[in-house]
């Protein structure tokens, strides 16, 4: 959590695994998501292989998983994130960005 995060920003948490090609693809896709949000978007990346306790704590069973941490509520998407539109819709970010002067 980032309690200092300004209200007009989005914090996403991306869980990836050690499988290099999958992790790289997920990060490619999340860059497209960052572009689509159209304003400051902070992204934390967690490697569940390097940090298995975090995966257990956050109950991650699939990577990539992308979680909308801020603004609340917490919402999570499981998949390769290739469909940026569907990912943004599932996270409710597009509507939120429109209401806060963002792009897309």
């Amino acid at each position: 959590m980032s309690p200092e995060l300004p209200l007009n920003r989005v914090l996403l948490r991306l869980y990836v695994s050690g499988e290099a090609s999958l992790a790289l693809t997920a990060q490619d896709n999340i860059e497209r998501i960052r572009d689509a949000v159209g304003h400051a978007c902070e992204i934390e990346v967690i490697d569940v292989v390097a940090d298995p306790e975090v995966a257990e704590r956050d109950r991650i069973i699939i990577t990539p998983t992308l979680v909308r941490v801020e603004p609340p509520p917490h919402l999570r998407v499981a998949g390769d994130l290739a469909d940026v539109d569907a990912t943004l819709d599932a996270l409710g970010i597009r509507a939120w960005a429109r209401n806060h002067g963002g792009g897309s």
């Binding site: 919402l75 499981a78 998949g79």
Partner: protein
């Protein structure tokens, strides 16, 4: 009228099909929680049914092509799988039917990895083209 009713299948027969399927079959509700998992799903995820039901899977997002994902299983094994998802109604509410196919087999995995590599190169080319256009503008 459905294919199942056309074929005259009973609920018991349908249950047998679902429970015997080699692929993992899950139902994920509108909040992203698992509501049903078949025996292959229990085996693939290496967790008990009671542990999986209610587990926060997340909203499954997949294009027409299956998404290649990695499973964090209960026994610590990592499995590569293809994920497909489609919209269904479950107990009167919108839900997603998720099919997970284990592609951890080395040969299958290598083919998938090569497909992914080509796809990654394509995405990077698109990004380079976009940046070149930005520079030209």
């Amino acid at each position: 009228v459905t294919v199942a009713s056309d074929a005259g299948l009973t609920a018991e027969q349908l249950q047998t099909i679902v429970e015997s399927a080699a692929d993992a079959i899950l139902v994920v509700d509108g909040d992203g929680a698992i509501r049903f998992v078949n025996p292959s799903g229990v085996e693939l995820l290496a967790r008990e049914t009671h542990e999986l039901v209610g587990f926060p899977f997340g909203h499954p997002v997949a294009t027409e092509r299956p998404a290649r994902i990695e499973l964090v299983t209960g026994n610590g094994q990592r499995r590569i799988a293809e994920l497909r998802a489609s919209a269904i109604e479950w107990q009167g509410a919108d839900a997603r039917l998720v099919i997970l196919r284990d592609v951890s087999d080395p040969v299958t995995e290598e083919v998938s990895r090569l497909h992914l590599h080509v796809r990654g190169l394509s995405l990077r080319l698109t990004e380079i083209e976009r940046r070149l256009r930005d520079v030209e503008d």
